[in-house]
């Protein structure tokens, strides 16, 4: 399964009230290409911090479902972020990790997630639910009720390393992304 395909499947399962934070790199560009929405925060810098941003939103907007689209490189860069989420234990926080064991946007250099199962780390830290899926059928099955049960959860989706040639960047300027996301969070 390609990352773009997995991203699209997860995005299509989100309710209209969900708030999404997507990490930097190809993931955000693929989500943007599939479906843009003001309720999505596209992080373009600050690698590693998508889960921390999602935690902040989840804590102050406890009635909203918060979904973080993250990559293995990002999770590894801010491993302590998993501990922060687990310690705060927000029931509305869901972490979807698209794991290709590579840094996709810098040339697919290997990460170390092939040897460090990230969902097991999240479970040991204290996430309430975790699972790993590796094909489209398993992903569809997991997503059927994933967001109905309380978090913090981590669904790790293993994907292959294909990038979409010539995929565009996220078009809105950063302040515009932030302003419309804040409006979506506080409406």
């Amino acid at each position: 399964m390609t990352r773009a395909e997995a991203v699209a499947r997860v995005a299509d399962r989100l309710g209209p009230d969900a708030l999404t934070i997507v990490c930097n790199g190809m993931l955000g560009r693929e989500l943007y290409a599939h479906r843009d929405a003001p309720s999505t925060f596209y992080m373009i810098g600050s690698m590693g911090l998508a889960s921390s941003i999602g935690l902040g939103v989840a804590l102050v907007q406890p009635s909203r479902t918060v979904v973080v689209f993250d990559g293995d490189g990002n999770v590894l860069m801010n491993f302590g972020g998993l501990a922060s989420v687990a310690a705060a234990r927000p029931g509305n926080f869901h972490h979807i990790v698209f794991d290709n064991a590579a840094h996709g946007s810098t040339g697919n250099q290997r990460t170390i997630s092939d040897r460090v199962p990230l969902e097991e780390v999240a479970r040991a830290a204290g996430y309430r639910r975790t699972a790993r899926v590796g094909n489209a059928d398993a992903l569809r099955s997991a997503l059927a009720s994933w967001f109905d049960a309380p978090g913090p959860s981590m669904l790790l989706v293993t994907v292959d390393r294909r990038n979409i040639a010539g995929i565009g960047r996220v078009e809105p300027e950063p302040p515009a992304i932030a302003a419309r996301f804040r409006a979506a969070c506080t409406r």
Binding site: G45, G48, L49, I53, L55, G56, L59, N78, R182
Partner: protein, 165 residues
């Protein structure tokens, strides 16, 4: 002296600050003692200063006006979050940064950052004031006006012997 830490937090709340996260420093030990003890503040003890910056950004999106507390060693850790998250997206936050290593009198690991604190903040284009109990209200009012006008982080630098107990 614990009165000074409570007064400090009261002044911040009077200026609209309503979300607190960070990493402790002995120079504002009195403040974190209150934050840890009083659930009213909802203080989130972060694992690293850049993680605290991310949590604060999320809280801002959710409608809050956040404060991030850190030792000045954490400025180095936070620099990428500051310049590639807060400053480019216009995400405001009040950074409360201790000033270890001021005038070179401190443990070796604090001396270099202590020495470059002011030029470092200037280089990063972060408006700041050095906390003085005499001018606290005025400084917080002025920094907060700048924070609201620019939608960018500002810093209150905490020297020794002001908020320790």
């Amino acid at each position: 002296m614990s009165g000074s830490s409570q007064r400090f937090l009261d002044v911040l709340e009077q200026h609209g600050y309503d979300f607190f996260t960070g990493v402790p420093c002995s120079l504002f030990e009195g403040v974190t003692r209150i934050l840890d003890a009083d659930p009213h503040y909802g203080y989130i003890s972060a694992v690293r200063e850049d993680s605290a910056m991310g949590i604060a950004a999320g809280a801002y999106f959710g409608g809050r006006q956040p404060v991030v507390l850190m030792q000045n060693s954490g400025l180095g850790v936070s620099t990428n979050a500051l310049v590639s998250l807060h400053q480019i997206y216009d995400i405001p936050a009040l950074l409360v940064v201790s000033w270890r290593g001021r005038h070179g009198h401190d443990a070796p690991e604090h001396v270099i950052m202590g020495d470059v604190m002011e030029p470092f903040l200037q280089l990063l284009d972060v408006p700041f004031a050095v906390l003085d109990p005499e001018t606290l209200e005025r400084d917080v009012a002025s920094l907060t006006a700048t924070l609201r006008a620019t939608q960018r982080p500002v810093a209150l630098v905490v020297p020794k012997d002001v908020l320790q107990s």
